[in-house]
Amino acid sequence: MRDFTNLFIALDETNKTNEKVAAMKRYLESATPADAAWAIYFLTGRKPKQLMQIPKLVSLAIAAAGLPDWLFAESYDATGDMAETIALLLPESTKSTNQSLSEWVENRLLPLRGATEQAQYEAVLSAWEELNESQRFIWNKLLTGAFRVGVSQQLVIRALSQVSNLEPAVVAHRLMGTWEPTPEFYTRLVAPETDDADISRPYPFYLAYPFESEPESLGDVHEWQAEWKWDGIRSQLIRRGGQSFIWSRGEELISERFPELIEESNILPNGTVIDGEILPWKEANVLPFSQLQMRIGRKNVSKKMMEDVPVIIMAYDLLEFEGVDIRDRPLSERRELLERLLRGLSCSADPQQMTLTERDLSAPSCQRISTRFRISPTVEVDSWEAMAEARGNARTLNVEGLMLKRLSSPYKVGRQRGDWWKWKVNPFTMDAVLIYAQRGSGKRSTWYTDYTFGIWDNGKLVPVAKAYSGLTDEEIRQVDLFVRQNTLEKFGPVRTVKPELVFELAFEGIAKSTRHKSGIAVRFPRMLRWRQDKPADEADTLETVAALLDSQNNS
């Protein structure tokens, strides 16, 4: 626990990635495999199932600190971090621990789950008693399951790669999926070779960078494969050993949310891994993302839900074929295998007849072994001008733009530049008025950075979007000051402010919504710029914004 706390402090005390990697390497080299396994587990953002209810922890901390509830709440508001707030408010500590991380986790932390309230209280109080302020913070972080320390998975992988002399991609793959943080696991993780194939283990996703320059800079258009950028859940479908698994990009096992896909995947041969997008789909059309969202929000997928919002996988890529990892083969080859596998002929869209959803996806050439597994259609053009034109049609097809992938590219790990680009259509915009503000969390916890915006509807402002990003630090500072000086009302952490500031918001899509007062929901809203030139009464109206609904194909 002491060494792990010191590792945390070292990671927290530098902004330089090389120093962070070096600190992790030092820790891993001196830690026991048991400690290293837990360290990797927490550093990669994994967490045990809830150990103790947060409100119980809070009331215990309040009692220990001897403060009124509201003052604890204000303190939390100022730090934006529960574990930190508790560590800062507890009476000063006089002790610290030398016991190892694994001992603390296995003997002190994990037994909290399912213990009686009294036992939990006593265990947590005695833990606080034995730890110094930094250690208390770490303990609280582990306890609240919110251990994020500003190191990315990539950096952990780099450190492990240096410790083990393995390629980062190998380490990344071994870290995927579910695993138990045991000494054996860690030993296998850094071993030169292992044969412990866990059949559910997904491959790391390859992610595209946004494309922001001129397409001509990419060279010959024929060296590229263009596909539509679908708006769904990026997933991996794995078929191995007679079982199927679906993983989301966030490494969450989501098989249970999509029983019809799992069932249908029986037809795939063992040793198959498909990278694709889960989309809500009816007949020949993709449905708005909000419908899929509604479906994944439910704990149990009802029959009615499956009928109302049927899903498909739009297959992008084939990562494993006949049990062999084929990620280093060129995209053109993987694509051919994917098409062969899903028994399709090449399924392409003619940009001259931009009715892709209607024609091409239901065309006989696109019929495959299953209507639930579709091959992502490619956009076949002979010039970048034609490509740009195709991109311009994205909105009517209910896609976000184009994906450009170099035909010779291997399937890489993580977000990398060069071979894969996402070339989105320009976003929608509206001018909206700042009406509510709330402090951010983490490093934005002392600033009002989380805003709700309204647009006019019959002389009143109705909330239409929340946005957190897009302003410069200097602008944040100015808006923060405005919020403090122009608060009309306070509701807990939320302040109602004088409706004066106008911001241009960008968003990717718009859909009807019964859950929002305005009747519309916008997708990925963010602040494009602060319209200091515009008075509030010239902001957009609900009428003009709702009219954007028609520009999309919301059938």
């Binding site: 005390e13 003052l71 100022a78 490093k443 002392t446 600033w447």
Partner: protein, 369 residues
């Protein structure tokens, strides 16, 4: 309420009607008592100023040349239109003062900014008993708990030594007025050379001219190109972060000294390597201690976590309310890292305009009283 209201809040600032003067006004007025030289308290544009004697040279760097400034030693009582006025050390920065106002036996004290921990660069805080205490509350939450400055200086020295061993320069950001000099007075100057940003050097000169002992410092801009800074300490205002000026120093470790560094989020928002919890304001315990010991039966909170402090005091049975002022406390230290373009004019890297020695005579001609 039998007691009279000696100070009230106006659009221009805190105003004593009976004596017809303001305390740290934010709009130009006829007569202003200035508690200390920080820019949110000492604003130019007033006709006459009154301030504590030890801070005169600092104040002169802040106000326009030729301003009519009268000074008074700590504790010396003046009578302004029948109101007794005296200034008492606030322990915040050199020359910082609390303002004690007495009329017909009723005593009010306006704290300005204060801390009670000793500071080698200024006089210690003096506790002044009063009926109404107008206090700051910059760090008025129980999460703000300072450790003894000796421990913090040890941390700073260890950081500096570690950087020196790693061949790096150590750039430490802190307020140019007060914090920078307190840091200089506390670091171990044996470790290596100390360089300064112009804004700091200008105020170092004012501190030295006021008789405060500081280790030797060199204004970095006077060094020839190609100077090696590894192993040295560079003290600079927060606004110098992310300016081209920083490129001069090669490989650096950056740090920030402020009470806000107690919160991890603010430390991370600054994009610095280290945060040292060193403040020139009272922490939660000290605020409570001072408020209690003044014996005041009414407390008015001016800035910082004001609503929180007011509620806390009222629940403790101390009548409290707030004045909504334009004082910022250390809030401006909270700013996220700035971009290169918006360096504060006040903190440009130029040591010019050292304290004006001229215009002293005008103080004699136009007096505050």
């Amino acid at each position: 309420m039998a007691a009279q209201e000696l100070v009230k809040l106006t659009d221009a600032g805190l105003y004593c009607e009976a004596g017809d003067f303001y305390i740290d006004p934010w709009r130009p007025v006829g007569r202003a008592i200035i508690t200390h030289a920080h820019s949110d308290h000492a604003r130019p544009g007033n006709t006459h100023y009154l301030a504590a004697e030890p801070g005169i040279k600092l104040l002169e760097t802040r106000l326009e040349p030729g301003s009519s400034i009268q000074t008074v030693p700590y504790g010396e009582q003046l009578t302004v239109k029948g109101v007794k006025v005296s200034l008492h050390s606030a322990g915040h920065v050199l020359g910082s003062a609390q303002v004690r106002i007495e009329k017909d036996g009723e005593i009010w004290v306006i704290s300005g900014d204060y801390k009670i921990e000793p500071d080698a660069t200024c006089a210690p805080f003096e506790l002044v008993r009063c009926h109404t205490f107008i206090t700051e509350s910059t760090f008025g939450l129980p999460i703000f708990r300072w450790r003894p400055q000796e421990e913090i200086f040890d941390e700073i020295n260890n950081w500096w030594r570690g950087n020196k061993e790693a061949g790096k320069a150590s750039v430490l950001f802190g307020y140019a007025l007060g914090k920078a000099q307190r840091i200089l007075s506390g670091v171990d100057a044996e470790i290596g050379p100390i360089y300064t940003h112009g804004a700091v050097e200008r105020l170092n000169a004012a501190y030295r001219a006021s008789g405060v002992d500081l280790p030797d410092t060199t204004y970095a801009a006077t060094m020839p190109r190609g100077t090696k800074y590894s192993g040295s300490l560079i003290v600079a205002p927060p606004s110098a972060q992310a300016t081209p000026w920083m490129r001069t120093f090669g490989t650096v470790s950056t740090a920030f000294a402020s009470g806000w560094m107690r919160i991890r989020g603010t430390r991370r928002a600054k994009a610095i390597d280290r945060g040292f919890v060193l403040s020139d304001h009272a922490d939660w315990a000290a605020l409570n201690h001072v408020i209690r010991e003044t014996g005041a039966d009414h407390v008015i909170v001016t800035h910082g976590y004001a609503a929180e402090m007011v509620r806390w005091l009222n629940e403790k049975g101390i009548r409290a309310s707030s004045f909504s002022t334009e004082f910022e406390g250390e809030r401006e230290e909270l700013q996220p890292a700035r971009t290169e373009s918006d360096t504060n004019e006040d903190e440009t890297d130029s040591p010019e305009s050292t304290p004006a020695e001229s215009k002293q005579e005008s103080n004699i001609v136009e007096r505050f009283l």
